[in-house]
């Protein structure tokens, strides 16, 4: 098991390295840097000025060196302005002797956000915390509901209950968040229909605390899409399991119908949806972008949109590192969980 874990973690690190490098290259393309220079010095500077600014702030060196610096495996650049030395690791006016040589994400230096004018780490933690809360509630709603629907529908294939639930699942998966979100806002929180059960914005959730009133709609919007998808997977897997011969064995052993489902069918039926549920985590990040923007909830997705829209290179890079990390970790968890659920796969 340990060997397997080490190997998987090794592969993960390699994957993370490759992915972050790609993102780094894309965010550090020269038009982006030029835009950065112009936003610092003013829009009407000449090309010469742009170049000298880029050179002064260490942006003109080879991409690999810069990537190494950002990562914290290459020494940070040092520059000088009017006799005052400064650099990546040395704030203007600091003591060059005591400044560290390396400062990248490995050392915990994630850089400065140009949009929020604050260190990236501070922003990221706060935003991630908010999104984490949202995700938690989404999962808490999505997983039990979808499994329940899937199992109920799959238990007796072709029954009225099955058809009703399947239709519901297909309808929800077929509706993207930006459609269902808008519909929910119109129906449940605007005066157009007049129900006004829930709040159409989740902005207050971030500041005043979460209530059912301000949080239910965003959670529902994200969860609904996943519910249909997972429920359909569970149903397919459940119907297959219910026709298996070992279910016949269990029935003819005299096991009650309830226990046939609970003890014999369920665990086998959950193997396939489990992977799907774990795959939902990274996918939730993307759903979060739409829903957080739609409901004005200032979490991770909203930050990502702000960073991308405002050419905030450090913040964008940090966001992608987090995204890559989330994807890889959930994959690892899903593999381990899969081994646990399915005894046929055992690591020797």
């Amino acid at each position: 098991m340990l060997r397997f874990l080490l190997k998987r973690i090794g592969t993960m690190l390699l994957t993370a390295l490759c992915l972050t490098f790609i993102v780094f290259v894309l965010t550090n393309l020269s038009p982006n840097l030029e835009k950065l220079a112009k936003s610092e010095l003013g829009a009407r500077i000449s090309d010469r000025e742009v170049e000298s600014w880029l050179a002064k702030y260490g942006h003109d060196r080879p991409i690999l060196v810069r990537y190494g610096e950002w990562l914290g495996v290459a020494p940070g650049w040092v520059s000088e302005d009017q006799g005052v030395p400064f650099g990546r690791c040395l704030p203007r006016g600091g003591d060059p002797a005591s400044a560290p040589r390396y400062c990248g994400i490995l050392q915990g230096h994630w850089g400065q956000s140009t949009v929020f004018k604050a260190p990236v780490t501070d922003i990221l933690w706060e935003r991630l915390r908010l999104t984490g809360i949202l995700m938690f509630w989404v999962m808490a709603l999505m997983v039990p509901v979808s499994l329940l629907i899937g199992v109920l529908a799959g238990m007796r294939e072709g029954s009225k209950l099955d058809r009703t639930l399947s239709t519901f699942s297909i309808a929800t998966t077929a509706t993207p968040e930006y459609v269902s979100g808008v519909i929910f806002i119109v129906v449940f929180s605007s005066s157009a229909v007049g129900l006004k059960w829930f709040s159409g914005t989740a902005a207050s959730a971030a500041t005043d605390g979460i209530t059912f009133y301000n949080f239910f709609l965003p959670v529902l919007t994200i969860a609904l899409y996943g519910i249909g998808y997972i429920a359909r997977m569970t149903r397919a897997s459940m119907t297959e399991v219910m026709t298996a011969q070992y279910i016949r064995t269990a029935r003819l052993k005299g096991v009650s119908p309830r226990d046939v489902v609970m003890k014999h069918a369920l665990r086998n039926a959950l193997i396939a949806p489990f992977t799907v549920i774990m795959l939902q985590f990274p996918w939730l990040l993307n759903g979060v972008v739409i829903v957080e923007t739609l409901f004005n909830y200032k979490g991770f997705g909203w930050t990502l949109v702000q960073a991308a829209g405002n050419n905030d290179i450090d913040l964008l890079l940090a966001c992608s590192v987090v995204a890559v990390f989330v994807v890889l970790v959930t994959q690892l968890i899903s593999d381990i969980g899969y081994v646990y659920l399915n005894p046929r796969i055992r690591i020797s």
Binding site: K7, Y246, T249, L252, K253, G254, S256, L341
Partner: protein, 695 residues
């Protein structure tokens, strides 16, 4: 009345009818079926696939699915009516008083539950005992079914056991609550012969120990004879004959039973002098059954106007013990008359050497753990170890062995689907061992062809039969024009005795036997010199097997083809082959003419194999040799002689020769070789396994 002091028959089925309902029509699966099982009695249900024997078993369990319904008659279990029993009552009977053992052990065990939990569930439901107590009982039963290391077994998952062990677990599960009736539905079809023999042995012993009544369903008459006291022969949804084993086997009173016995290869049958007699025609589909007697159209005693007039009831045969038959004419037929021998043929004389193998080896390298990367050294699986033999023109060489013995690998290497690790294969005078099939010349490809085991999967479902044969002809470069090839295709259909109209049919419109005929036509399309027949009839029903085997022999005789007949069924091998090669774990352990291999001295493995094959003949006396344990994995073969772990003669070899050295191939007689350390004196003392008692 409490069930404990009930004294009548355990199971009484009276005039039972079962139908399946589809959107189109009602399909009667079982009609007017009656049978009684007395306490402690073993009743066999015999018939070909689709005759309704499994439906009867599931009806006893009242498990017919959504579409199935009992439309008439009654099933009484210990005097209680099962047909109208509530679901709740039924649940108390299932698993506690009636238990079932299934065909595929792997599929009938829950893959995600430990064996112990699956076993313990039974007493926990029916006796309401605690988990600890249930597990203790499970442990007891597991050692009763002779499984080694019961504690480890209880902790394992089903996939960690071999097929034979899984079937023992299924049997243990059925015995957990000491049922009064045990239903076995083809319990050994998925197992190897030696494992099958051990399981059957176990069932017989357990029956004595627990006194359970048994309903044993099988298509194998030999097995039924081994296990049961009485049997009931079914044909197309009806019982056609029922009686004691002795009566039905020796004094049969129904033409179908007789035809069935004449179509299976029993000792004494011979392809030249006493060929098998196949049953003409096909099994009727459930909605196309004829009027009157269902067997009428295929029966040689058929009399128009009488047999097809009205439904035939069961008649009791006077003077026999509860012997009944569903034949109007049973009193008029002379049952003792010898069968009309269709035609005898001369034994073909083998010609020159066509195929020659020298020291052929095929090793596979496998990663120890393919799923999670190679955590561990690579292992070598020795699928074929120094194979040497010759096959002559017009000769039938049978290759016999259980699963994992390397017979399929050998076929793959010969066909060119794999290339040999070392050694030589000579086809005439060409080396073909290292030429994969895509590099072989058309000549070689059409010269070495194969007939596959499963005719259902080997025909393209979306191409007409004629088109598929023409396609083979095109590939083999036969015929100059399309017209030529079409004519040749029609000739091939004649050759395999299929009507010419079949050229335009789709494979799904054909029965299993007909599909296999198409497979044979395709194999012979390019005038094959060597045909590898990989278990060509094992997927077919008994009555069709004889016809297909016969056809294969006839074409071989005509074309002087060399036939390599791969099989695990020794009865059919004895019937049709000239020479036999016995394989075990990649080694050829014995090679000789059919007579040499089937009579002593044997290789110890051949001896066990012969003893394991059930023979449906009451005159045959068999020595019982039950092999302990399972076939070792080819990944991890034992040191020394491959068979030493299960050999009962091992003690007769001085020293620990068997454990340390692979025995050399030694010559016993002209053309008879065995791979064994046993000294000549011991070999000479071996007794024949099968004796035919004098009448």
């Amino acid at each position: 009345m409490s069930p404990a002091d009930y004294e009548g028959p355990i199971l009484e089925i009276e005039r039972l009818s079962i139908s399946f309902f589809t959107r189109l029509r009602e399909i009667p699966a079982v009609m007017d079926f009656s049978c009684t099982v007395q306490p402690g009695e073993a009743m066999g249900l015999v018939g070909e696939s689709g005759c309704g024997k499994s439906t009867v078993a599931l009806a006893v369990m009242r498990y017919l699915g959504k579409n199935g319904r009992i439309t008439g008659g009654s099933i009484r279990f210990k005097g209680r009516d099962l047909v109208n029993m509530s679901d709740e009552e039924l649940r108390h009977i299932r698993g506690s008083e009636i238990a079932m053992i299934y065909q595929e052990p792997m599929a009938s065990l829950n893959p995600a539950m430990r064996i112990g939990d699956q076993l313990a569930e039974v007493p926990m439901i029916h006796a309401g005992v605690s988990r600890e107590e249930a597990l203790r009982r499970a442990r007891e039963v597991v050692s009763d079914v002779r499984l080694p290391d019961p504690d480890r077994m209880l902790r394992s998952y089903p996939h960690q056991l071999s097929g034979g062990q899984q079937q023992r677990i299924v049997i243990a599960m059925a015995l957990m609550s000491k049922p009064s009736l045990l239903i076995l539905d083809e319990p050994t079809t998925a197992l190897d012969v030696t494992v099958e023999a051990a399981v059957v042995d176990l069932v017989k012993d357990l029956r004595e120990k627990y006194g359970t009544s048994i309903l044993f369903i099988s298509h194998n008459l030999g097995l039924v004879m081994d296990v049961c006291d009485r049997l009931c022969v079914m044909y197309s949804g009806e019982a056609v004959e029922t009686g004691s084993i002795k009566d039905v086997f020796d004094r049969m009173q129904h033409p179908y039973t007789q035809a069935l016995f004449r179509s299976i290869p029993l000792p004494g049958a011979d392809k030249n002098a006493r060929p098998l007699i196949s049953i003409p025609g096909n099994f009727p589909l459930p909605h196309e059954r004829p009027n009157g007697c269902n067997f009428g159209p295929r029966c040689s005693y058929f009399e128009a106007g009488r047999c097809d007039a009205a439904d035939v009831p069961m008649f009791a045969v006077d003077g026999h013990d509860r012997h009944e038959t569903r034949c109007i004419r049973f009193r008029e037929i002379d049952w003792a008359a010898p069968p009309k021998v269709a035609r005898t043929t001369e034994k073909a004389v083998p010609g020159r050497v066509v195929l020659k193998m020298e020291d052929l080896k095929k090793y596979y390298e496998v990663a120890a753990n393919s799923l999670f990367g190679k955590s561990g050294a690579k292992k070598v699986v020795k699928a074929n170890e120094t194979l040497s033999f010759e096959a002559r023109e017009g000769e039938t060489l049978a290759i016999v062995g259980e699963s994992g013995c390397g017979k399929s690998t050998f076929a793959k290497v010969l066909m060119g689907l794999e290339t040999a690790t070392s050694g030589r294969i000579m086809l005439y005078d060409r080396d073909i061992q290292s030429t994969p099939i895509e590099k072989r010349s058309t000549d070689t490809v059409s010269g070495v062809q194969m007939v596959f085991q499963n005719p259902f999967d080997t025909l393209n479902p979306s191409m007409t039969v004629g088109r598929q044969i023409i396609r083979a002809l095109e590939i083999f470069g036969e015929g100059k024009t399309d017209e030529d090839r079409r004519n040749r295709m029609l000739e091939l259909l004649d050759l395999v005795k299929l009507p010419r109209q079949f050229a335009d049919r789709m494979p799904r419109q054909l029965s299993g036997g007909q599909k296999q005929r198409v497979g044979i036509a395709r194999a012979f399309a390019g005038g094959a010199k060597v045909v590898v027949a990989d278990e060509p009839v094992s997927a077919l029903d008994v009555s069709v097997q004889a016809a297909v085997t016969d056809l294969l022999m006839e074409i071989q005789r005509k074309n002087k083809t060399t036939l390599l007949f791969i099989s695990h069924d020794l009865s059919i091998v004895r019937y049709l082959s000239d020479r036999v090669m016995v394989m075990y774990l990649g080694h050829v352990v014995e090679l000789g003419t059919t007579d040499q291999v089937f009579s002593p001295p044997y290789h110890p493995y051949t001896e066990a194999l012969l003893s394991a094959v059930p023979i449906a003949d009451t005159h045959v006396q068999k020595k019982r040799i039950v092999l302990e344990g399972d076939i070792p994995s080819a990944m991890n073969p034992p040191p020394g002689c491959p068979f030493q772990t299960r050999c009962r003669w091992k003690s007769k070899v001085p020293g620990n020769l068997c454990e340390t050295e692979v025995p050399p191939m030694r010559q016993l007689a002209e053309g008879h070789q065995i791979k064994c350390h046993l000294p000549d004196s011991e070999l000479a003392r071996m007794e024949p396994v099968i004796k035919i008692a004098a009448e």
